[in-house]
Amino acid sequence: MTPRLRLVLLALALACIAPALPAVIGALPVFGSHPLPYGDIINRLAPAERHVTNMVSAVNFDYRGFDTLGEEMMLFVAVTGTAVLLRGTRGEAITALPATVPGRQIPPHSEALVLTARWFAPVTILFGIYVVLHATVTPGGGFQGGVIIASGLLLLYLGEGYAGWRRFMRNGPLDAIEGGGAAAYALAGFGPMLVGAQYLQNVLPLGSMKLLLSGGLMVVVNASVAFAVAGGFGILFVEFLEETRAEDPTQ
């Protein structure tokens, strides 16, 4: 597509859209207003019905828990697809040698980077665990905590270098954490059916509000999301970073 044709297309599109723009902008709700009743209803009902103080978790893991199962499976399938694609062409062998570009040296690890990463990685992972555990009490939850833990794993890579990082980022355990988390979510839904309730219905004791174990089934579902997300992002980092390794000459 030539730039001239692109400009013509742009002009055509603008001619179609521009006349309607003022009307659409004028019809938008006022900034900060929330005209739909759903949020207010949840805010009123969830504390009494589910003994939680984080309404987002109540929606994600309970009222719309089935939707989250779908998202969970989306993540699982995306990570699995990435692993299958990359491992399929690369093979499962792990090489410690970094790939090099002719004429470019690999700079040595700076001590400041190592020190900073070693300070912040454990704190970040600990904070991620904190966010996971407080899903029903304070903002955050399994997904947020899981990705924070995963970013702590990235800091570990920066601090320890690839070889040291791969010593504990093993494929088997990571796959088990990711798959186990996704499976635990799906299976947690069947639990209530054993006592005659519906799929994912919250039949566990709800606990007292503002405590870590409040929310009944949400605690289980939230933990499985955290495992699936942390494991899934861990697999993604490992699979992508393995692509920057030199090919094993013995293969």
Binding site: T100, A150, L154, E243
Partner: protein, 81 residues
């Protein structure tokens, strides 16, 4: 709308434009990361701290790292049959 929000909206627009206008892929990744950081601050100011967590980690750390790794992988030019 407070001054803080106005400032963050303007910063978001500037950072987004920066992503579009940077042509070198490596710079674009860093611009995207900066845009993610500003978006996270904006979500936090709009009282959505859980969205801010996700955006902060995914948009500022995880996604740019994956892009950088892909760029490094292309540059290293692993040959495959």
């Amino acid at each position: 709308m407070t001054l803080l929000l106005v400032l963050l909206f303007v910063l978001t627009a500037v950072a987004g434009t920066g992503v579009v206008l940077s042509r070198d892929p490596r710079r674009q990744v860093l611009a995207m990361s900066a845009n993610g950081l500003i978006l996270a601050l904006l979500f936090f100011a709009l009282q959505a701290p859980d969205v801010a967590y996700s955006e902060l980690v995914v948009g500022t750390a995880a996604l740019p790292v994956l892009y950088l790794v892909v760029l490094a992988s292309i540059r290293a030019g692993r040959t495959r049959e």
